[in-house]
Symmetry: C2
DNA sequence: GTGTCAAGAACGAGCGTTCGCTTTTCATTG
DNA sequence: CAATGAAAAGCGAACGCTCGTTCTTGACAC
């Protein structure tokens, strides 16, 4: 029973997903045909269907992968010791959003739109959502900025605001255009810092 | 040359767009078939094609209408005299986003996603974008909040932050879930208000 | 040689669009 | 004011094309 090695199998899977991601970024989920993906992956239809049950599963896989990568990126920011201040964290967060704007950020906007009518993708995001919230709140908790220390706002509420500033930045950067990451971050920091 | 009245023509057009909007909200732009729209509009294929050159034009029309309605809603907030403070404006802005979350807000997320790969829709948004920015900045300018008055941040920069909080709220409300408009607004106001 | 893997032609369903026909509308006319 | 006719409005079956999926065939590893 001649089978391919597990590593080769994973490689093929990655090869398909890489092609799919590139196509989706260029044409969108539903404008991309199976043939587009197969051609780019240099694979035949028969071959690909051994790895994915169909197009929907590929879309779901890409969406999942993208959501996870965003969560992981934010998670990773909470790691450094000693805990950074918000004046350090916010610019890093905005810079992260800025770097990802043309790749995962663009895809994220597409996924969010898709989630509005596709229950599978919506469920997928909702599973990951608590982790994003938790990661941002952890960031706020460690930084312990003045508005929290003085009891003006809670960690949870400030976390929600900051959590919505990140997609807000991506949207503004990708759709409205004309926004500078450093200025954007500096403005947020200024608002969170007591008067000079 | 017997034609239908201009009012009747507009009514038919509206009838088609209403059906299309409902279908798009349920199934998404590309999952919706022409037949879905035609059935809901109680119109035949031949009939509808006298009003729109094709499906793409209907999608563009709905997207345009939606973007315009959002702009108009924000524009309308800048009207009242005397100028309201941000402590009054922010809750109204968040409440507006909250009310629209299941209709125009949901559609907006879909449109933003679509704009990532559809140049027509992207261009359409970019045309409207300056007006949204201007409207929010006008709101900030009139309110003249402490962080602006003290020169800590500019009207433009604070405007951009607030402008990105609105879609941020919609996204959080529709995707992550579990966010309260009043709490959300109150937190923003607290951050913009000098220490007690 | 046996069973997995990949290829690629072929299939069938679904889609957007068109086209020829019928119905409706309204200015014109007797 | 009723009859008329011509053109627009609307209908819906049919077309042609695309696309996702399947299935048969051959190749290769063990």
């Amino acid at each position: 029973m001649p089978r391919i090695s597990e590593a080769a199998r994973q490689a093929r899977r990655t090869q398909i997903l890489d092609a799919a991601r590139a196509c989706f970024l260029e044409r969108g989920f539903h404008q991309t045909s199976m043939d587009d993906i197969l051609t780019r992956a240099k694979l035949s239809a028969g071959g690909a269907y051994r790895y994915f049950s169909g197009k929907d599963e590929i879309i779901a896989a890409i969406a999942h992968e993208n959501v996870s990568s965003l969560t992981a990126a934010i998670d990773a920011m909470a790691v450094p010791e000693p805990p950074p201040t918000l004046a350090e964290t916010i610019p890093r967060l905005v810079a992260l959003a800025d770097q990802m704007a043309d790749g995962p950020g663009k895809l994220a906007l597409m996924v969010w739109g898709e989630a509005q009518t596709d229950p599978t993708i919506a469920a997928l995001i909702q599973t990951e959502a608590p982790r994003v919230r938790a990661a941002v709140q952890e960031l706020v908790r460690r930084a312990n900025p003045e508005p929290v220390a003085s009891g003006k706002v809670t960690v949870e509420n400030l976390g929600n605001i900051i959590a919505s500033l990140v997609p807000g930045y991506i949207l503004q950067r990708r759709i409205l255009g004309g926004v500078d990451p450093d200025t954007y971050a500096a403005t947020i920091v200024a608002l969170l810092t007591p008067a000079d």
